[in-house]
Assembly symmetry: D2
Homo-oligomer: 113 residues x 4
């Protein structure tokens, strides 16, 4: 991940784009890219239609997920957040919020368990 972050930063620095990248606009861009992932599944309602479009547009999905990942890495870098550590910490928190014996097989929110 360090190597990927460096690649993304090099791309940005070559274009002198850091000036546009305040955290609010990075967050805004993260949302825009995430909705481009979601748009691929618009109006696809049953499992077959969802799986079908996922297969048919796999390259588009890879591109859009890469965009999401790119902005995630940039935000984490600019805010001084270690993304790998943050994920491990969050999994621990979620493990406490959703204990296996209560959450197993349930789609309920932790507030309803």
């Amino acid at each position: 991940m360090k190597q990927l972050t460096e690649k993304v930063l090099a791309f940005r620095d070559e274009r002198d784009w850091k000036q546009f990248h305040n955290s609010k606009d990075l967050a805004l861009s993260l949302v825009l890219e995430a909705t481009e992932v979601l748009e691929i599944f618009q109006w696809k309602q049953d499992q077959a239609a969802i799986d079908g479009v996922a297969l048919e547009r796999k390259q588009d999905l890879a591109d859009e997920l890469a965009d999401v990942f790119c902005y995630t890495l940039l935000m984490a870098n600019d805010l001084g957040i270690d993304l790998a550590e943050a994920l491990k910490t969050k999994i621990e928190k979620n493990s406490a919020k959703y204990p296996v014996d209560k959450a197993k097989g349930s789609d309920k929110k932790y507030t309803e368990l």
Copy 2:
């Protein structure tokens, strides 16, 4: 990243949640988590206010970015996408779309360069 994906998958498998995770709902969840990052910056308009809230709520930002990363890893895994490769490929595509000599210091879309 392989190790992180495994952690996320282990969390999901222990809770038997794969059944809820079709790609459409993962994409939907990715959007919801991305908007939770964005919400932190709502109504913050100048640079000082943006930087102030980013500092003050750094742990919340780490948690929300971790959620975004978590769903990105899950989707990539379920769709058979190598996220690191996808990012490298996307950077190459963007380098072609935004050549340094045209894009340097500009916030224009590639269609307007």
Copy 3:
């Protein structure tokens, strides 16, 4: 709609909130409220589950749709856009993009018809 816009503006003016409402933050808030509508349907996959939660949480849906509508009215007002006219114009544009004989019963984008 004029009357509703006036109610929303009165609410804002009494609180002196116009100062926070630049168009970018109104658009951001519109997205946040729209995702609160969407969140209600997270993990609901078949028609019965979707209809079930829509019935069970009808008041929440009314509240969230009202928030979306509220920001839509505020943005239109601040930008000098007549929302009713804009909708009529957009329906005409969409009628041209999606002619009945081609679009009937199809979930394709106009670019694919």
Copy 4:
């Protein structure tokens, strides 16, 4: 608003699109349209840039807000929600959550007032 809802329903019925419009996909589409409004303000950071793009792209904003309004009307119709009533009710709730004497001139959430 009744008249506008009828126009939108007529457009949908002529194309036999009701079959695609379950509430989840309408909510998803509402989010996608809201982000198209937001995208117009991406990377615009100071008030002059925000106002500039709002003026320059006023017709695009009218079109995107119309799309948001269209899905809001469709959802409300399908769910049996009276949108005008819902808005009035929500304004009353917000008036209680944000009393004028506490909220005036403040950008804080009601939980922090």
